[in-house]
Symmetry: C2
Subunit: 122 residues, 2 copies
DNA sequence: CTATTTGTTAGAGTGCACTCTAAGTCAACT
DNA sequence: AGTTGACTTAGAGTGCACTCTAACAAATAG
């Protein structure tokens, strides 16, 4: 079992030290133990959770929803069903967003083609 | 040629009247003429532009960039090349975002599958 | 031993995109 | 003529997700 300081975790996760402290304050990470000097000592669990949090955030899950997931996670195995539902519902939202973006990208693509063809749009 | 009031345009575009006024203040629409009573009279051009603005916004283009596009549009045909570049560069950004979201969605999907299979994630 | 770096906290500030409020005007209905 | 409702403006407020500041403590480098 290895431990990491905030700078290492920042590098590993792509988050800033500031953001890591903010995520902790917002309960987006399991409790982070401190060393004798009061500094954060992250473990492998934290790293794994933070990477999953990144996946949730990168797909547009709001902070308060990520927090809800983490609270369920911390509560224990009796929350499996609820966590599963949360993730499945998020997945549907993301899928809808994806197809919306794709549809709008097609509109932009048509405009680009009209600029390229006639040099002027209608 | 038909004219529309702010309520009709709100319905057609899915934007609120508030947002339409805000977009106008931010120069995201060509100039909107007023009637004798000072009320907005939108034409077909406005409707078409607003729908395209919606496509740009729905794909994550920031307000200031949409505004830049509109200013070029208003400036005239000598800006065709610049508008084309702006749209093409936006298209690339959107494509990258799409693949990032898809990659992260796969991570979430794996987690869902692990919840479904063993009822418990590692 | 001193200076620098890296961390700590609570809390304030930032940027974005709306979203709403207040105070007022104007048209249409009763 | 009065009331309702939709509109007008400038500007303030909101929610989100950071991002930064100030003041301080501790570890390391010279």
């Amino acid at each position: 079992m290895s431990y990491y300081d905030i700078t290492q975790v920042a590098e590993e996760t792509g988050l800033t030290a500031h953001t890591l402290r903010y995520y902790e304050k917002e309960s987006l990470v399991p409790e982070v133990p401190r060393d004798s000097g009061g500094r954060r000592r992250y473990g492998d669990l934290h790293l794994r959770v933070l990477k999953f949090v990144n996946a949730l955030r990168a797909t547009g899950m709001p902070i308060r929803e990520v927090k809800r997931y983490l609270v369920l996670y911390e509560t224990g195995e009796q929350t499996f069903d609820e966590r599963l539902e949360l993730l499945k519902s998020h997945r549907e939202i993301v899928k809808e967003q994806l197809s919306s973006v794709k549809a709008n990208l097609r509109i932009i693509d048509l405009k680009i083609k009209s600029y390229e063809k006639i040099g002027a749009p209608k």
